[in-house]
């Protein structure tokens, strides 16, 4: 799930544009960060023989593709890359109109016995990853599951942490983090912005309490 939409939730879409967003990562930074994460995966997985990368739509899929290419450069082997849509496993489905589904594409080799690295753009509440773990459980039984994210912005609501983090970004819940990738947005970048003042309080409130509502 691109977390930009998770906290830049539908309610905020129509609100007035706040102060201009500040770039925190530029295109070269993102490239460097992904190279480092690829090396870390190879190091921790002792060669990454059985690694399967699963990106969470939309931007996680593009990041997984880039990571896969970097792993291939390092190890000289093809790394299976797929996508895992978590829409049907979300705990907030009942809190909005039905969401369009994205594509789940599991590599032909399957995930049984492999080391699955979930890839997402922003780690925030951790609810997306909770949903991804549930979705993965219905698809197969990996040897282990790890998590790689481009940005960890904190404010976890579940006991979930990332194994590979591109950048730790301390944020307030009044801020928004927007990841832009060339495949989707035409250029690379991570922007930190402020939410419109009048609904910031209410949204932060939603972010805290929304989670406590009965899950679907």
């Amino acid at each position: 799930m691109d977390d930009s939409s998770a906290h830049g939730s539908p309610e905020s879409a129509g609100s007035a544009q706040p102060a201009p967003a500040r770039p925190v990562l530029e295109a070269p930074d993102i490239a460097r960060v992904l190279t480092r994460i690829a090396h870390e995966i190879v190091e921790r997985a002792k060669g990454a023989d059985d690694v399967v990368l699963l990106g969470i739509p939309t931007r996680g899929v593009h990041l997984a593709g880039r990571l896969g290419a970097k792993l291939e450069e390092i190890t000289g082997r093809t790394v299976p890359v797929g996508s895992l849509d978590i829409t049907m496993y979300r705990d907030d489905l009942r809190m909005g109109p039905p969401r369009a589904l994205a594509r789940t594409e599991i590599p032909a080799e399957g995930v049984d016995g492999s080391l699955v690295v979930l890839v997402d753009d922003v780690l925030y509440s951790g609810r997306t990853i909770r949903a991804a773990l549930d979705a993965l459980g219905d698809i197969g039984r990996p040897r282990a599951v790890q998590l790689a994210v481009l940005v960890d912005r904190g404010h976890r609501e579940l006991p979930i942490r990332a194994d590979y983090v591109g950048k730790n970004l301390p944020t307030s819940q009044r801020e928004t983090v927007r990841v832009q990738l060339a495949e989707e947005d035409g250029h690379d970048g991570v922007l930190l912005g402020a939410r419109a003042a009048q609904d910031a309080g209410q949204l932060a409130d939603d972010a805290r309490h929304g989670g406590n509502a009965p899950a679907g």
Partner: protein, 336 residues
Amino acid sequence: MKRHLISAADLTRDDAVLILDTAEEMARIADRPIKKLPTLRGRTIVNLFFEDSTRTRISFEAAAKRLSADVINFSAKGSSVSKGESLKDTALTLEAMGADAVVIRHGDSGAPHRLATSGWIGGSVVNAGDGTHEHPTQALLDAFTLRRRLVGQEGADLAGKRVTVVGDILHSRVARSDVRLLSTLGAHVTLVAPPTLVPYGVESWPCEVSYDLDAVLDTSDAVMMLRVQRERMNAAFFPTEREYARRYGLDGERMARMPEHAVVMHPGPMNRGMEITAQVADSPRCTAVEQVTNGVSIRMAVMYLLLGGSSPSGPSPSTTQEPGMQHRAGSSEENN
């Protein structure tokens, strides 16, 4: 999308394409070891069947169960309906039990519309076939099958495809829904039937009518054979079954005259030897079995899109009623 699915006319092109695209994702679930999603956990779906059905009922049941909804099957036989309970009282009972959606098949045209608009129940109503009116999920699965076979691209519609529907148009709710939905999706529909089996008012439908099957075969991308509904043949609509089969049945020789890529469809159940020969029914160009498989995916998509979000926030059931609605409900024919 609206809260109910009563008629294929309720769907815009974008609604229909969204359902087809969602169904593509649902179809992938069938390839997984665990064919189940937690999405509708805690929701109750009632299958309210006043008419016999195997295919449609188990298809809806399978779809609801794959989405983890609780399913209550209700068939008129062996229920209080056989003691004379009215549709209204049955509906109030279901409402009291907290049904989130009611899938209804009824012998009378307009029964689902009545159920949806008279304020008896608060949940969604899905039409699973009413009399000779409509059967929208069948039309959706037909469109899904056509798109997979003829277009093979998600997000697309059926623009420019020529679909020929052959047989008992008069009694066919499938034909009515197909004409509406397929034309919404940009396909060009031609109905072929003996003049006695063409309904009154067909000239206002978005389709063409022909009495000669052979004349349209070579320009059809798909030929859909309808079942001759013996149970509804209460008058002499054609002289003999043999004559019908010879003029309007699809045999190997006719199939050979269809374009190379064209497919043969049948909503089932088939009368082999009547509207379709065994040779055609068993050929790889016939999509009858595929249509059944696709039916589950389509119904999952419909259920997800109707029930997957927040509970309908519209006005409460008693206030949705419009004056005059009840009178309209009974005579759905005017919609045709």
